[in-house]
């Protein structure tokens, strides 16, 4: 058998790989066969029968083994019945007719059948305007129904599958896309079919309902308005929406998104974001985004406590000032200080960071990155390089994940790694406690908190099984996180991982290297530009005269305590954080939705986001604010993000060759997704604004030797509180999404049953926890998967926990009322 076959579809000849389905082959020649249940990412189910076509195959002469000829052409035999294009494989010489009378009749009749059970409430349906059923009915359906209106199928119309996703039972056409997505793609079968025939329903029995961080994607691929998100339901009509390409700012994966906006009376005539949709990038997020990106994606930019005007503190009160005055004061303060400090975070774009770097250079200022995870110097050297795509990893490759609960910290990486494992890549999960990724792993290695570095170092001994696996593997990628590790610990861990990769030859080529599971969208970019964290921020705050804090909240996070003598604080921010509350000069920045820029993802891909809505108040983009301050110090910096990037590319070798033009390039992606034929891929947006570009491999010859110890260990008889990153927390960027409040819940801490026994706490007890001078009340969850001696404390949930520490616990006595 040859591996490519040639066939004719509606008179167009096409050559495709053997094993392809007719429906996909047709896509290649822009023949759009109507479908409902098939989806290029979900495969065939043949549940809806919408894709009926006529299929003919050459008659083979048994004597010669060649096709019989008639007038010099192969004689074609058409099958007696129509065939489903979503299950029929292409074959040599096949002739497919999608528009013949017979085919059209079949398609039309299936539609007519579907419509007998359909409410046709398009005028009040959220899907109306981007609905495959509506579109296909217009294109292929009958104008009139012959069925009796009185016998129409009726069912419940507002069924919450959870608090995020609603089901309209009448509208469901039972295509099974949602169920198959959860089962096959997300790997979390928490929705299912119930009953059969006309009574068939989608149900969820999980706690909470529809308990999956990928749930929103089902609303994109549902071909009718049966599944809708609580966020967008009755929010707008699709045809009123404008679309702006964006990048999710919630984690280091950098999912490509489209922000749908409209001008509306409800928002005082302003243009506002109505929803976040995935935008296809087969190298990053394919057609999906996680629920955090979808439901929390932008809400924080619309908070009431957005900073709208520059402010200065005078007599301990904030007073609004003009930008001019603010720039001038900032410039003077920075210039007068002996060694000003710039403290920036990975929430800023590459352009913001580059301008900050230039300004700092001119001032001789110290540039600090605000993070408690280290190792970015190494990911800059041995990180993924141009040409990498997690989708390329499979049989013969190895992926190792260490010290990270990936589904909570970077859901789309979790998904892509799970898929790589399903393709045959060896997955090794190395964690101090059970995480969801383990179900898909070939090896699970468990270590005690504190043994992180040693565990990886041991693996790198030539005789160790895992070293051998790495040595044999074609490609290897390590994802490391910072669970239980502070800055030093995670730097050390990155070092140990680097040694393993370098010793086994897995760096400086595509699909090999080290990836940091950062907490912010552009941490990687900040490292690449040369920003570095310090171990003790407190010392910096204690001794500096002027600190310029951009996009960070060290006070609110408990990373520093302000004393009587504190530095002059210039704070450039979006929201009224605790740090802003102590600022001396406040500079209101624009949100990523209100400006342009690029982020560098954890996979070192530079991706561009565009302005979607007008700015709030007088806020300005960070790069521009910095350029204005610089201008008052006689330093000329670019104010156009594209030009800043040109400068950046010139100065920072890893960015060589990168420009806005380059990152905006697109090539054809498979599957071919198109909003005009959205019955094929769903309501996700096609990518016309750029697939981004990966950074070059850095020319390195030597690596810093991994030093440093692991994280803290629990001491005999004492508990160690370890911060963990949760997808949904009370951090401002998530908490601002009203929809997610229930999922966020209250502060819950976890410990092992034995530990709870020893301390005399029972499951569900209310505890008061004191930690580093802060305290909070929490609900105790007794969980056997937590190692003994450990108390897991989620970050940003009310108890500031910047690094691990020793907690003081006591039970909250119930108030006696009466």
């Amino acid at each position: 058998m040859t591996d490519r076959v040639t066939l004719t579809i509606d008179g167009k000849q096409v050559t495709v790989p053997a094993g392809m389905l007719v429906v996909d082959a047709a896509k290649k020649v822009a023949v759009h066969i109507p479908i409902f249940c098939y989806h290029p990412k979900l495969g065939s189910a043949a549940m809806c029968r919408q894709c009926l076509v006529e299929v003919g195959r050459p008659i083979i002469d048994h004597a010669t083994g060649h096709p019989e000829l008639e007038d010099g052409f192969p004689r074609i035999q058409f099958s007696a019945k129509l065939e489903t294009a979503c299950t029929t494989l292409v074959s040599e010489g096949m002739v497919v007719l999608t528009q013949s009378e017979r085919a059209r009749k079949g398609q039309k009749e299936v539609l007519e059948f579907l419509l007998t059970s359909h409410p046709l409430d398009c005028p009040i349906c959220d899907k109306g305007g981007e609905c495959p059923l509506q579109n296909l009915t217009m294109a292929h359906g009958p104008g009139k129904s012959r069925f009796l209106f009185d016998e129409k199928h009726h069912a419940e119309k507002q069924v919450p599958l959870g608090e995020l996703i609603f089901l309209d039972r009448e509208r469901c056409i039972q295509c099974g896309r949602c169920v198959r997505f959860q089962e096959n793609v997300a790997g979390e079968p928490v929705i299912g079919f119930y009953q059969r025939g006309r009574s068939m329903d989608i149900v969820s029995f999980s706690e909470p309902g529809f308990d999956s961080v990928f749930s929103g994607n089902t609303t994109d691929i549902c071909p009718v308005g049966a599944l809708t998100t609580a966020d967008f339901r009755f929010g707008a009509r699709p045809w009123e929406l404008m679309a702006a390409a964006s990048i999710c700012s919630q984690c280091a994966v950098g999912c490509n998104t489209t922000l749908n906006t409209r001008r509306e009376a409800r928002s005082d005539g302003q243009i506002v974001v109505k929803r976040v949709m995935p935008r296809q990038n087969e190298q990053v997020n394919e057609l999906w985004i996680c629920d955090k990106g979808r439901f929390a994606g932008y809400h924080y930019t619309e908070r009431d406590d957005r900073l709208l005007k520059p402010q200065v503190r005078r007599d301990d009160k904030f007073r609004s000032v003009s930008w001019d005055a603010a720039f001038l004061q900032a410039a003077e303060k920075l210039q007068d200080a002996e060694k000003p400090v710039f403290l920036v975070s990975g929430r800023l774009s590459n352009e913001d960071l580059f301008n900050l770097l230039q300004l700092a250079d001119g001032l001789g200022a110290e540039t600090l990155l605000y993070t408690n995870m280290g190792g970015g110097d190494l990911t800059g050297m041995v990180g993924l390089t141009s040409g990498s795509n997690l989708a390329d990893l499979g049989l013969g490759d190895v992926i190792l994940v260490v010290a990270s609960d990936l589904q909570e910290e970077a859901p789309l990486w979790w998904l892509r790694i799970k898929q790589a494992a399903e393709r045959g890549a060896m997955l090794i999960v190395v964690n101090p406690r059970e995480t969801k990724l383990e179900k898909h792993a070939d090896y699970v290695v468990r270590y005690a908190y504190g043994d992180e570095i040693k565990t990886i170092q041991d693996m790198n001994k030539a005789t160790h099984k895992i070293h051998k696996v790495f040595a044999k593997a074609a490609n290897a990628v390590i994802f490391y996180g910072s669970e239980g590790l502070g800055l030093e610990g995670s730097s050390g861990l990155a070092g140990a991982c680097t040694s393993l990769l370098v010793d086994t030859g897995h760096y400086a080529r595509p699909n090999n290297g080290l990836v940091g599971v950062w907490q912010r969208a552009n941490d990687q970019g900040a490292w690449e530009l040369g920003f570095r964290p310090v171990k003790d921020l407190q010392v910096i705050f204690d001794k500096s005269e002027v600190v310029y804090i951009v996009g960070a909240d060290p006070v609110g996070d408990g990373a520093v305590r302000l004393k009587k003598r504190k530095p002059f604080m210039i704070v450039q921010e979006l929201l009224s954080t605790d740090t802003v509350g102590h600022a001396d000069l406040v500079l209101p920045a624009r949100a990523f939705t209100e400006r342009e820029g690029t982020y560098t993802s954890g996979e070192r891909r530079v991706q561009r986001f565009y302005q979607a809505v007008p700015p709030r108040g007088e806020s300005r983009p960070d790069y521009e604010i910095v350029a204005e301050i610089a201008a008052r110090l006689d330093t000329a910096l670019e104010r156009e993000p594209g030009l800043v990037m040109d400068q950046l590319a010139e100065h920072i070798p890893a960015f060589g060759g990168i420009s806005y033009l380059k990152v905006s390039e697109v090539v054809e992606q498979w599957p071919v997704i198109n909003r005009s034929e959205l019955f094929y891929g769903g309501a996700v947006y096609e990518n016309t604004q750029g697939l981004g570009m990966q950074l070059r491999p850095a020319p390195v010859t030597s690596f810093p030797v991994s030093k440093g110890k692991g994280g803290l260990r629990p001491k005999e008889g004492l508990l160690l509180a370890v911060p963990v990153n949760k997808l949904y927390d009370q951090g401002l960027t998530v908490l601002s999404a009203p929809l997610l409040r229930e999922r966020i819940g209250e502060l819950k801490v976890c410990m092992n049953p034995d530990e709870a026994d020893r301390l005399g706490f029972e499951n569900g007890a209310r505890l008061r926890i004191g930690l580093n001078g802060n305290n909070a009340k929490a609900l105790l969850v007794v969980d056997p998967t937590v190692p003994s001696g450990i108390l897991l404390v989620p970050r940003s949930m009310g108890l500031p926990i910047f690094e691990a520490g020793m907690p003081v616990l006591s039970k909250v006595r119930k108030k006696v009322t009466g």
């Binding site: 079968p189 928490v190 299912g192 079919f193 119930y194 059969r196 329903d201 029995f205 999980s206």
Partner: protein, 165 residues
């Protein structure tokens, strides 16, 4: 009480029938076990079974939903399911159902006040030539009662009543 606490022996026996990596196959017999006592599968038991077999509660529930012999709601202790599909209707199944309901004093789908009998019409039971007929689940399994009359049916109900008391 969880299923395994209530029926430790049975659960162990059922689980032992399947290899460790195929243990989800035990879902069907475990559901029968869960249904045995009360005539329906309690939500709590679905959860238990899911946890035992490493599948989601939704997965378990969708099986209960799919198979008409699993019930998710309480009914009479004897759930008499009368086939009223076409072939049976031609042999008088409709009349049989109506008469049975009348003599028990219930509507189709209803339960007698003493909670003993529920009568339900159902689709083809694959014994079309032996109508009127009904199926019923008892502790012993699934029973077919074919070529029935009202008298024979009431007699059988009576005998079950005695057996129960």
């Amino acid at each position: 009480m969880t299923l395994i606490e209530k029926y430790p022996q049975e659960v162990k026996q059922i689980l032992a029938r399947y290899p460790q990596d195929q243990k989800r196959s035990a879902v069907m017999p475990l559901l029968y076990l869960a249904q045995r006592e009360n005539g329906f599968v309690h939500r709590r038991d679905m959860k238990d079974i899911g946890a035992m077999l490493d599948i989601t509660e939704t997965d378990v529930a969708s099986l209960v939903g799919f198979y008409s012999l699993y019930h998710d709601e309480p009914a009479g202790r004897l759930r008499i399911q009368v086939c009223t599909d076409l072939s049976c209707a031609l042999r008088g199944a409709d009349d049989f159902l109506a008469a049975l309901c009348e003599s028990l004093g219930v509507e189709p789908g209803g339960t007698t006040p003493d909670g003993l009998v529920t009568v339900e019409p159902v689709m083809c039971l694959a014994a079309c030539d032996k109508a009127p007929l009904f199926q019923v689940q008892t502790g012993a399994g699934l029973e077919y009662h074919e070529r029935m009359t009202i008298e024979k049916t009431l007699e059988w109900i009576e005998s079950r009543k005695e057996a129960a008391s």
